[in-house]
């Protein structure tokens, strides 16, 4: 066989397309090398290096702009949707790293492995958000999952951490199997794994009625639903979120969800023309189940970390409300909500980290009693994030929910919107319960002293708080960006 000619121009275009990912992976490897060379007491440099890498990568996303670059024979694309999710994921990673400066010092996670796993996971998420071949999406999914399994169990001497990691790993391996089997069935029915090609073939109504293909789509949905923890695939979430180091929990709840939703949105919006009649019922049921089970379970929790875990399940249900209609409006609302959700959830976990005690203990709600007046800044930040999670104006959470539910109403899913609003109202109870504890319940005995915040940690809280407020009061430009991102996909 003759040697394969190298198409240098195509290769360069491809490399340009994945420039942000390359930068993140390079930083991860660089961190490992630096880790070898520096003494134990200087390990916090690693956090700084990781942060610089993430920021440079974020810049490169802006540098590439919204123009569409397709690379590697259509395996990956840099388009509006990919860029939007890269911004969300990298911002979540940067906030996590800022908070890790303090957390690692308190809990002993200033390790090269910790940071490089965090970065490798981030690169997997970015590939997942940009993959236009189901193969790329699957590899991205695995590259994001395996480091996260390890990070959940990073506190190796703690039972809860190991338990969460093992549960997440075993169930996650099954979910990956489901995903892959789904891709195999779709390939069997169509002969391709490229998402645009699948979308084009779905214009033929016979394929949309082919049960082999539909079974494939269903299994694919199960795999992704596991990662975003939709009910009934959410069993691992409370244990993994509770056992994981709290910064990792913050990262998982925001970034992993965003990446899996990015893949879901790409697949759903592109294929929806042909599949809408079947899919909307499935998504409708998943959405209502997820919101209801998530919120009702969160009502019963006394552990703040566990409560936020259930609340994150409920929020995946809200985002799904936007995807049921599978049109432009819903997509825009879902994107905007994922952006907002990343900031408010990471912020909430950030305050919770400060209130916690050594060894990630003291997440009981009673520890919050009296905090509000004694430590006004902490109380104000937590209140802001909780109010936003509950969806009360003038915060970004309100705007996000407003657009999600109004998209559902405009597309005629009135009951879905009604159930969503009812759920949202129920959720306000458990969010405000924390606020009540902070401001109205006097502390019994000695009040636990919060950890002294570091400059970087405070910066992360300020950035999240500012984002929640700004996106709430001036949501215009972010909504425009979300709209353009969805349009870039549909064109």
């Amino acid at each position: 066989m003759s040697p394969i000619p190298i198409d240098a121009a195509a290769l360069l275009t491809g490399l340009r397309c994945i420039l942000p990912e390359i930068l993140v992976v390079a930083t991860a490897i660089f961190v490992l090398f630096v880790d070898l060379m520096i003494p134990e007491e200087n390990k916090r440099i690693l956090c700084g290096i990781s942060l610089i890498g993430v920021v440079i990568s974020l810049f490169s996303v802006f540098l590439l702009g919204p123009a569409r670059i397709s690379g590697f024979s259509g395996a990956v694309v840099h388009d509006g949707l990919g860029a939007f999710f890269e911004i969300v994921i990298l911002a979540a990673c940067a906030l996590t790293l800022l908070m890790a400066t303090g957390y690692s010092e308190w809990e002993g996670t200033h390790k090269g492995e910790f940071y490089s796993l965090l970065l490798l996971s981030t690169s997997g998420m970015m590939f997942m958000a940009k993959g236009t071949d189901l193969m790329t999406v699957f590899l991205g999914l695995e590259t994001l999952s395996i480091p996260i399994y390890v990070l959940v169990g990073f506190h190796r001497h703690r039972m809860s951490s190991i338990e969460g990691a093992l549960k997440y790993f075993l169930l996650g391996a099954f979910a990956s199997g489901f995903f892959l089997y789904g891709v195999a069935l779709m390939y069997a029915a169509t002969g391709t794994t490229k998402i645009p090609a699948l979308a084009a073939m779905l214009l033929d109504a016979r394929l949309a009625a082919n049960p082999v293909f539909l079974a494939g789509v269903g299994l694919l949905l199960v795999g992704l639903a596991f990662k975003v923890s939709l009910v009934p695939f959410h069993m691992w979430t409370p244990d993994a979120y509770e056992g994981a180091p709290t910064v990792v929990t913050a990262f998982m709840s925001a970034a992993v969800k965003a990446a899996a939703f990015a893949a879901l949105i790409r697949v759903l919006l592109l294929t929806f023309g042909g599949l809408q009649p079947v899919m909307w019922k499935v998504l409708w049921a998943l959405s209502v189940l997820t919101m209801t089970v998530g919120n009702l379970s969160a009502l019963l929790q006394d552990n703040v970390k566990r409560m936020l875990a259930y609340s994150s399940i409920a929020h995946a249900g809200y985002v799904l409300v936007g995807l049921v209609s599978g049109d432009f409006l819903g997509g825009q609302a879902a994107l905007f909500y994922l952006l907002v959700y990343a900031f408010m959830n990471i912020g909430a976990f950030g305050v919770v980290i400060l209130i916690a005690q050594k060894e990630d203990e003291g997440y009981d709600i009673r520890n919050l009693a009296g905090i509000g007046f004694k430590y006004p800044a902490l109380g104000a930040f937590l209140t802001l994030f909780l109010v936003s999670l509950g969806g009360i104006p003038p915060t970004a959470g309100f705007v996000g929910k407003f657009y999600l539910f109004s998209a559902a109403v405009k597309n005629g899913y009135i009951w879905l919107a009604v159930l969503g609003v009812l759920n949202s109202a129920a959720s306000i109870y458990y969010y405000l319960r924390l606020v009540v504890y902070m401001y109205m319940v006097p502390a019994e005995g000695e009040m636990p002293v919060p950890r002294p915040s570091r400059l970087a940690f405070s910066a992360a809280l300020f950035a999240s708080g500012a984002a929640v407020l700004l996106l709430g009061i001036f949501p215009g430009s972010a909504l425009d960006l979300a709209a353009r991102s969805v349009l870039s996909l549909l064109m």
């Binding site: 066989m1 395996a75 997997g124 480091p147 049960p211």
Partner: protein, 162 residues
């Protein structure tokens, strides 16, 4: 000839897989797993995927299962200490579901034609190599990142002191 061989090797693969999950001693399970993997390799040969067949034997039967066997021998649990597992309600349901799945796939594959594999030599070493380093170059590279992450993760979880 080919359909007959397919039935034979398919039966061996399925029979071996059932034995893997029903044997009491893990060593027997591991050995049956090798049998299954070999039978699957033979199925690959029947579909002209020679490269995949070779990899299946070398990597899975040759390396992965040998590692399993090493671990089983190192742990070395005596037979009388192995737990006896009973068929409980949940497991019975699992078997029922598996039966339904087989029935379902049988019906589906009978009623809906699948497209045939396009090229005859798509499974040769040359063809796989070419596809891997042109159309699937990115997938190949992401896999290397994935393996790096797995190596770091293994060290982070298993090393005495990090």
């Amino acid at each position: 000839m080919e359909p007959i061989l397919f039935v034979i090797f398919g039966a061996i693969a399925v029979g071996g897989a059932i034995m893997v999950v029903t044997r009491r001693h893990p060593m027997a399970s591991a050995l049956y797993l090798i049998l299954t993997l070999f039978a699957v390799a033979a199925l690959f040969v029947l579909r002209q995927a020679h490269f995949l067949a070779a990899i299946q034997v070398i990597v899975y039967a040759g390396a992965v299962v040998v590692l399993f066997i090493f671990v089983i021998m190192l742990i070395n649990v005596p037979v009388h200490k192995l737990p006896v597992e009973r068929v409980t309600g949940l497991r019975f349901l699992g078997v029922l579901a598996a039966g339904l799945l087989i029935l379902e796939s049988a019906v589906l594959t009978r009623r809906f034609a699948m497209p045939r594999a396009s090229a005859v030599d798509a499974g040769s070493v040359q063809a796989v190599g070419k596809a891997l380093f042109t159309d699937y170059l990115l997938a190949f590279e992401i896999t290397s990142v994935l393996l790096l992450a797995a190596v770091i993760g293994a060290i982070a979880l298993a090393k005495k002191k990090i």
